[in-house]
Symmetry: C2
Subunit: 344 residues, 2 copies
């Protein structure tokens, strides 16, 4: 089925467009009353992720409510570690917790990888198929995965952390084993994204959420090569890479075979464009806290951002939208981007 | 009393020295068995901070045990909000918590500021005097303060946070009140640092621990002007500014009247030197997790760092030393820097 609104795809491919497309990371979630209503009925977040009809429903909610230019399939980056054999729990108001964490070569050896891991995630592909059917071509559907380093973080650390010092310690103490683990995660992510594309996603985003805890040398060694491999092997749809906090690697992303580079809110758009060069489309990067401001301030900030990016740009926040963001602020963000069409 | 080892002071003043001085942020703390022994006897962290004889004892422990080139007075950045009238608790394994947080103009109005706030912290100045006496000139004593933005973070957010979204929301929703609060914090910090210098500290460091959550424009507006004012008004001793995560502001620090710019571990030393220019001494920036590695790897990493900074450099980590760092790793770090003298 052809897309009625293919602005995101055309922009990601570098085509000339009338205005930047707009979506928000974490747009399907607690900011929406419809989402909170569904969540209140359920036993937990994982029930939502693993039930295709529910995942499809919350994926489409922001398209209806916010009028964004894309849907992103409702899921979690931690489905990959789980498919590899490492179960996790989600503890309300705390976050993810892995009862078992990776410590030894024997554990890495035992992990399921590649297609064998990815094929276990049938509920994700079912959710993608169902969502595509229900979207009926209104907007593109984004599929996503965590980047290998970010997934290693959770598999070794066992949960969230300010420093991820256990995961980093693993890199310093067991570099060979770390590469073996990253290798297995990478083959799983590649197979997973290919199956998601086969199920119907129109574009994919790779989230390297914990890029910022690494040194530049570590990022070159343990993160970037695996992202590059994923981008080389996953073809047929445009690819977005968002490495939060990896400010020092911006020049290197010019050489990664992705289409779009996501920026967090610490980047000045003009300087980021100079550093990354002319070839990539940029995505981002309004401070998520800007949406706590009044509507006039949001409008002005969004207009400044769009002017500063000056095209070849996908409008988004510089981080996932925070759960307590007023809906009015989110809508002002989307509306201001969409009104650019009148100006350009 | 003149200093027997004044390497840190001479380096900070830009003089030619034989090797970089070395100390570690959080060197007085849980990495030392002597510290853990004292801590085990006490009711809590605040007893240690507010008892001059105990604060002096743990301040000197790393000088004895690690042979570092400086002591840093054992204290907490949150003594300033407390002196301004905002009490805090320290909850074991959770962190600081402010039962009351700043929300309104009336609350900002009521805060004690400047000398009136700083004079309440007699236990800090007593600890400085006692430490100076007991150090007997072995090494310089560093005094410190939180930067105004970082102190505002705690006063508004009420505790630690990954995003400090409440503190940032305050900047967007109440910018005038935020400046009034930052003004009051700044006058208190200035008075506090002056009294610490009067009590005997030889050099001061300003910690902007949450610099990294701000956008570049916010950092220019709500953080940097207040740091500049502190550096202008606090004279007579060298000043170090460490703004963790403010990678985008490095060029601006060239114009701040401080002597030393601290770098976190995400900076390449050579590039940082190019960006900050020739006038400042640089401090940092080994990844704290590097100290989990084996001794040979630590030695190599420290040597690479020293070579890369190539002088006008104070050796330190790029963040406070993590509490579970092996003492052997910390000692290898200090020893490797000190052995540079033989090579140069």
């Amino acid at each position: 089925m052809s897309l009625q609104n293919d602005l995101l795809i055309r922009t990601a491919r570098g085509e000339e467009v009338q205005r930047p497309p707009v979506w928000l990371m974490r747009q399907a979630g607690r900011i929406l009353p419809q989402y909170r209503a569904i969540r209140a009925r359920l036993s937990g977040f994982k029930e939502l992720v693993s039930t295709p009809s529910l995942a499809a429903e919350v994926t489409i909610q922001p398209v209806d409510e916010l009028d964004v230019d894309a849907a992103i399939i409702f899921s979690d980056i931690l489905v990959i570690p789980e498919a590899m054999g490492l179960d996790y729990e989600l503890i309300e108001k705390v976050g993810p917790r892995f009862p078992e964490t990776i410590r030894s070569a024997a554990q890495v050896e035992e992990l399921i990888e590649g297609n064998d891991a990815a094929e276990r995630l049938t509920y994700v592909y079912d959710a993608v198929r169902l969502t595509k059917k229900e979207l009926a071509g209104r907007v593109p559907l984004i599929g996503f995965s965590g980047a290998p380093w970010t997934l290693l973080c959770y598999m070794v650390e066992g949960g969230g952390s300010k420093t991820f010092s256990k995961a980093k310690r693993f890199l310093y103490q067991e570099p060979v084993l770390a590469h073996q683990l990253l290798e297995k995660i990478t083959t799983s992510v590649i197979a997973y994204l290919k199956l998601k594309i086969q199920a119907g996603v129109d574009i994919v985003q790779i989230f390297d959420s914990w890029a910022g805890v690494l040194t530049p040398v570590q990022y070159q060694t343990f993160a970037l090569p695996y992202i590059r491999r994923i981008c080389e092997e996953v073809q047929s749809v445009p690819k977005i890479v968002f490495a939060k906090g990896a400010w020092h690697a911006l020049e290197e992303f010019a050489d990664v075979p992705c289409d779009v580079v996501g920026l967090d809110w610490t980047h000045d758009p003009t300087e980021a464009r100079e550093r990354v060069g002319p070839d990539k489309v940029l995505q981002g990067n309004l401070d998520p806290c800007q949406l706590y401001a009044n509507v006039e301030d949001i409008e002005r900030a969004v207009q400044e951002m769009l002017t500063s990016f000056a095209g070849r740009h996908i409008a988004n926040l510089g981080h996932g939208v925070y759960p307590d963001t007023p809906l009015e602020g989110v809508k002002a963000f989307v509306r201001t981007v969409k009104e650019m069409e009148l100006i350009l």
